[in-house]
Structures are given as C-alpha cells and as structure tokens.
Amino acid sequence: MKMHLSSRALLLASALALAPAAYAETPADTLVVANDISDIISLDPAQTFEFSGNDVNRNTYDRLVDFDPLDMEAGFKPALAESWKVAEDGMSITFTMREGVTFHSGNPVRAEDAAWSLHRAVKLDKTPAFILTQFGFTADNVEEKITHDGNTLTISLDQPYAQSFVLNCLTAMIASVVDKETVMAHAEGDDLGNTWLNTNEAGSGAFQLAAWRPNEAVQLTAYEDYYQGASDMKRVIVRNVAESSAQRLLLEQGDIDAARNLTPTDVESLSTTEGVRIQDEPRGRILYMGLNQKDELLSNPAVIEAMKHLVNYEGITDSFLKGMFMTHQAFLPAGYLGALEDQPWTYDVEKARQILSDAGIEGGTITTKVRDLREYVDVAQTLQASMAEAGLTLNIEQMTGAQVLDAYRAREVPIFLGEWGPDYSDPNTNAATFAYNPDNSDEAMATGLLAWRNAYAVPDSMNEATVAATLEQDSDKRAQMYQDIQRQYQAEAPIIPLFQRIENTGLRQNVQNWNAGGSVTSVMYHQVTKGE
C-alpha cells in the first residue's frame, strides 16, 4: 500500500512537471523588472544611499522639486513646491507648497511635513546628510534655518549659493518629504521613526510600497490619488535576479518586462531577439584612473602626461566594454550642468614613450591593487600591456571591493582603477571631490575626497574656483566656470577620467517611456506605459 501511494505521487508529480505551463506575457497593468537589488540596506530616505534603495524611494516619495521623466533636459521642476522665490541677497529661498496633495496615509502634505523631513534628515545625520548639511545646517540650528509658515517653507543658507546648486540638492532622495504624523506614530525613543522607516514607507509618491523582501523582491502598487494622476502601471514588481543570463532568459520568455543587469554578450544576443529591444542610457558613473601622488614615479608630471596616452580608449570601448561605457575624459558626466565633451587624449604609445624619454625616465615598476570586477581587471590588463610597451612595468594584485576600498581610503593604492558615481544632480558633487582638497596632509583624513585619496594637492586657484562655482547665480556663467575647471584639470591633474557608464536595459517591445534616471537620478516608473 505504501509503495502504491508513493508511485502514484511520483506519477502525479512528473505529470505536473511535464505539462507545458502557460507562459503568457506579464499582465498589461503590471511592470516586472529584473534587477540585482541585494544592495538595499534601508528604505528610509534619510539613510538610503544605495542604487536600488534610491530606485524605490524615487517612486514612493516626492520632493519639493523634481525631474520630469519625459523631459530630463529641463532639469528640476516644481513638484510638491508649486513655486519658489530667492531672496534679494540670495541667502534664503521661500517655497510655496502645492495645495491638495495627500500622503499615502490620506494626511495632507503640508509645509510642516516638508520642513520636518529636512530637520529629520539633518538630525539623524546618516551618510547622505552631507547633501543638506553643506548649506550650513546642523542638528542644533536646522530648526531655525528651515522654517514653515502656513503653506510656505523658508530655507536660510549660510552663503548666497547658486539657486541651481540648492535646488539640485533638493532633488536628492534625502530631501524626500515624509509624512510626519505617520512616522512619529512609529518612532522608538529618539530615532525619529528611523527603525520603522527602514522597512516601511510614508510618502506621497506615485507608488506605495506593498512589500520588500530582502534579496528577493520589491513590490509597488500605484497610488490612486497621486497628484499627477495615477500611474498606468498598477503594480511594479522588481525581482532580485543577480545573473545576467537568467535575466536574459526571463526576458526572452516574456516573464519580465525589463532586465537591468545584462552583460555585453547578453545585450548583443538580445538585440536580435524578436519582441525585445535594448535601451541605452548614459548614467552618471565615471570610470577613472587615479595616480597616487605619494608614489615617486607617478608624481612625475611626465609620467602623468604619458599615462593619459597609454589608455586604449577606442580599443576598450569597442571590445570588452562595448555598450557598457563610452569614452569621457572630464569629471562631470554628460547630462550634468557644465559637462565637458572635449577629448584631448588619444591612445598613442609612441607619444607616451617620447614624453617619458624627454623627461629622462627609463623604466619603472608599479604594483597596484585592482578590484576583482571583470571590467576593472580587463582595463588594468590592457593598461599593463601598453605600459610595458612604453617601458613601464605594472603588477596587478586582484582583491575584493572592500579590500581595495580600505586601501584606497588609506591612500595606499598607487594606480586606482574604478568608478565614481555622483551623489546628487549638481556639478558640485563631482567637482567637490575630484577638484577640491584644501588640506592634503595625512592628518586631514579627508577620506571622502578622491583628490585626498590620491594625495593630489589641488592648487589653491582650483580649490577657490570650485567654491566660487557654487555661488554663481547665473547658470550659464556657472556652467562656463565648471568647464574651465575641467580644462585645467585635464591639463594637470593626476586623476584621469576615462569612461562614462552606459546602462543597457533590455525591454519587451511593448514597454514605453522607460527611464532609468539618466545620469542625474534613479529609475522612474510613473510614466511607463505598455502598448500592444
């Protein structure tokens, strides 16, 4: 009898397995995205600083000002703030709130919530807090600096900063407006609701957080009372799929609508697949080469100049980084105010050799640490080959990301190859780290500045120019200032921007208006539609 039962069970099981299941496409009102979301640590906008966490908050929260996914060129636009006015002396900005907007809880969005959200972010002082505190806010003074009155909100600054600088920073996720009443109802001790918000949501954005299961999925549902109109997509499901080939198979089968971590090989094979298309979008990350100025050889100006000609820009973007990166030799990514398109350097071993021999340099050996990521190791190896041709020996030690980062922050990586992603949508985000380093001593411990990590003593004139650019009210002039800084940077700096990241999203043919956020922000789902 026992035997009989189990064999029946087996038969049933195999019948179930073999019956072809109906794999239709995803429902018309549901957007299914495959992405590696294992980086999410927190969903509290005052704390979140990871790509995938920002991708969620971008859609569940609104900010005073924001980007229009269908017109990214325009830059920030009114969002929860209907309008704003800069004081004559440039020392404060007053925002007028939009009327009739409600949080997901049903509570109205008030100027009080907006002010409290900014107070909260400054007081909690989590990693992204610097985006706000750079305007002179501290836990002690923020309640005086950011005030509300009726439906207006006033932000007082410690310097007459460029309006574009302040407003660009207010598009960052940390400036999200959270529902004060809801959050405070869940506060524990003096955590201002941080513990609760880490896994919950209290925003007014186009989507509500339905579920977050770490390393598995994020589910969003459309907020029907959204002030810009409810989204066409009633559900958005982001599934954690780490493997590119698995993403590709899912997309081919129509089980997902978008695949966000495809390798060049999978992109290439998908580009000929029926029903699927690839959307290229330049993102903000810059792959650069940092030459540590503590190294005697690398601090020689001739070596710095020669190194710029030893990178096979075209060869690399045409082969192993094809579609993933484009050549970009300035520190502001394309898409930013003041971005510079100049490409002064070409791959020229002969020229590099000439520069070195003119300076009397005959060979030399450098041992560096490279993160064990395929892209970086491949770049390092082509560099190794071209350096060898110019008479320089490069030894590469491969390590994990955490190990390289530790060494880099301790100023112990001779040649750093890796990426830098902007923290907010204003040019100052990169200028302040590439081209600003007021104190180059070891004691300064300015571990956050790339210039410091490479022991690059930024000339005073450049430090000053970087600060001055944050105070220029005229946006055209401001853009010009950043271009000037970048030209000077290209001429003399030992940190050499090489490539800019391109995101290739694999989409089902019927998905329209996909926007991963360009170079300035995170993914947006509100405008996405699905055709026939």
Binding site: L16, P27, I41, S42, T127, E243, E252, D255, A402
Partner: protein, 326 residues
C-alpha cells in the same frame, strides 16, 4: 545534550573569530564610502565594535539565549525574520533534492553492485563521474536554457511566477506545502514547475554521491561469507540482495544520506544564485562578505541545529534498523 550545546558554542566561537579577523570593515558596509569620520565613529560604537572581542561574543550569546538574534546590517531586518524567510526556501529545495537523490541513487547503487561490470554499473559510473565533475553553474544554466528557455516545460528563476507572488498565505514558508494548505492547485503547480529544475540539479549531485557510496557498501557485503551461505541455501538473488545485503548496509547508508541532506541544508550558493532562489546559502555568503556577524551567526546556528537534529534522527533510525541496538 550538554555536549551538543558545547558543540554549538564552539561552532559559534570559531565562526565569530573567523568573521572578525576577515579584512572586511562592517562599518563601511553600513555607512558607505561617503560617510564622514564622525558618522563612521557613531556607527562603529552603535555596532558595539569598540568593545573587546570577548565582551562582544558573550554579549551576543547572552542575547541569543534570551531569544534576541540581533539585526542584520545588510538587510536592515531582524535576523530571526530573515531566517524565517530564507530557511524554508532552502529546506524545500534540499528536501526535494534529497528525495530525488535517494529514490534514484540507492537503487542505482544496489543494482550497479549486484551486476558489477554490467551495463548499469557502467552507466552509474558515468552518471556519478559527470555529477562529480560538472560545474553546477554551467549545468544549471544549461538546464534553464533547455527546459525553460527552449522547451518551456518548467518555470524560470525564482520560487514562483509573478502572478502567484504573494497570493498564497504563508503558513510554513514552504510554498509547495502552503499552496496545498490553501487548496490552490494553480499555485502548487506553478511552485512545482519552479522548484523541479533546481531540485533535480541538487538531486543529481547527491545522487552521484549516494549511488557511489551505496555501490561500495553493497560490494563489501556481497563479498561476505554469509551471502555465499545464503546463495548456497538456494535463496533467490533478489532475496539475497535486498533482504540480506541491503539490510546490512542500511545503517551506513542512513549516515551518508543524512550527511548529504545536511550539506544541502547549508544552502547551495551557486544554485541559489542561478535560480534566483532566496535561500540560506546566499544569505550567509552575502552576510559574511559584508562582515554582518549577527546574520552569519544566526545562519550558523540554524545550520548547526540542523546537523544536530539530523544526528539525533539518524541515531533513532539506527535503533529501528538494527535490532541489536535495542
């Protein structure tokens, strides 16, 4: 029982020490690359890393004894909630994998031994060799490509199809069981179509091991004198193999199966990655790489308890199988 508790304590201590000497800074994982020195210090203290290692360790043990497993720094959730979520996923996969491995591996091993050098023995050898040497990564991707991509017989990566996601109320966390409890056949069918491929893959690897072990145990028995005696008595070949020889190998076989099941319960990291299976293996590995000690130790406790439970279970089975031990 005391020795079991000590074993568990030792296991935790070793894991803790390895985790702490690893050149990974858990604070950086929490605050990120852009944090200021002050923010870094604040997180360092909040995580209790400024205390001596001994204090940290026994503080942790004290918390565990009161049921507090801490909070994971890489998911931001309570470790106990994380484990409640990832362990059923692994348990479901490992159980089905072991069932497949045992139900094919044991008969295959017995027949291979009985017909030594015969065609089945040769087949069993090739099967085992491939199972031992084929990288699971490759085999998993090929399996997906053929059975999901080309033939469409099974579901893709993940535990469930999108439509069924979150539709079945979670009782045990085992989706196959939960969907049966809910009486939702469509969900059961969907979950089965998703689990069958990774389970078969794991089953294949444990089959390779179990069939080889079964074969060598059987060969040992079949060469013994009592088998010759039984044959001389004129017993049928089936009775000789199954009633005499097989009963005698059942005890070592239980040990082998328990070990193989235990190793699957630790979670198979590569399989979990390929099939986007949110299981224990990925959880522990990811936590370890982030220096997330609460999560790693929580996972270690689960694995340790599983092994201890399997040990106890095997002991019980020995008693049932071996009349002498009564």
């Amino acid at each position: 029982m005391l020795s079991l508790a000590l074993t568990l304590l030792g296991l935790l201590l070793v894991t803790f020490i390895i985790g702490r000497v690893m050149p990974i800074d858990p604070v950086l994982k929490v605050v990120g690359d852009r944090a200021s020195q002050a923010q870094y210090e604040a997180a360092y203290q909040a995580m209790g890393l400024d205390k001596p290692l001994v204090v940290q360790f026994f503080g942790y043990i004290g918390d565990v004894l009161t049921g507090n497993f801490g909070r994971s720094i890489s998911t931001g959730q309570l470790v106990i909630d994380d484990i409640r979520h990832v362990f059923p996923a692994t348990l479901e996969l490992a159980t089905l994998g072991t069932l497949i491995g045992v139900s094919i591996g044991v008969p295959l091993g017995v027949i291979a031994a009985a017909r030594r050098g015969g065609i089945i023995d040769q087949v069993a050898r090739v099967v085992a060799l491939v199972g031992y040497s084929m990288p699971i990564f490759w085999l998993g991707l090929m399996g997906l490509l053929v059975f999901y991509g080309i033939l469409g017989w099974v579901g893709g990566p993940g535990r469930q199809g999108i439509i069924f996601d979150g539709m079945v109320p979670s009782v045990t966390g085992l989706i196959l069981v939960d969907s049966l409890i809910a009486g939702d056949w469509a969900a059961f069918r969907d979950a089965f179509s998703h689990i069958i491929l990774p389970a078969s893959l794991l089953g294949y690897f444990s089959l390779a091991y179990i069939s080889r072990m079964t074969r060598s145990f059987m060969l040992e028995q079949l060469g013994a004198e009592y088998i010759t005696t039984a044959r001389v008595k004129g017993l049928s070949e089936g009775a000789v193999i199954w009633r005499h020889a097989f009963r005698n190998i059942s005890i070592p076989l239980v040990t082998v199966i328990a070990l193989s099941f235990g190793s699957l319960l630790e979670g198979s990291v590569l399989t979990e990655i390929i099939f986007s299976w949110p299981g224990l293996g990925q959880y522990i590995t990811k936590s370890l790489l982030a220096g997330d000690m609460s999560a790693v130790l929580g996972g270690t406790i689960v694995v340790g308890v599983c092994f201890i439970a399997l040990n106890l279970l095997s002991d019980l089975l020995y008693r049932v199988l071996d009349p002498r031990s009564k």
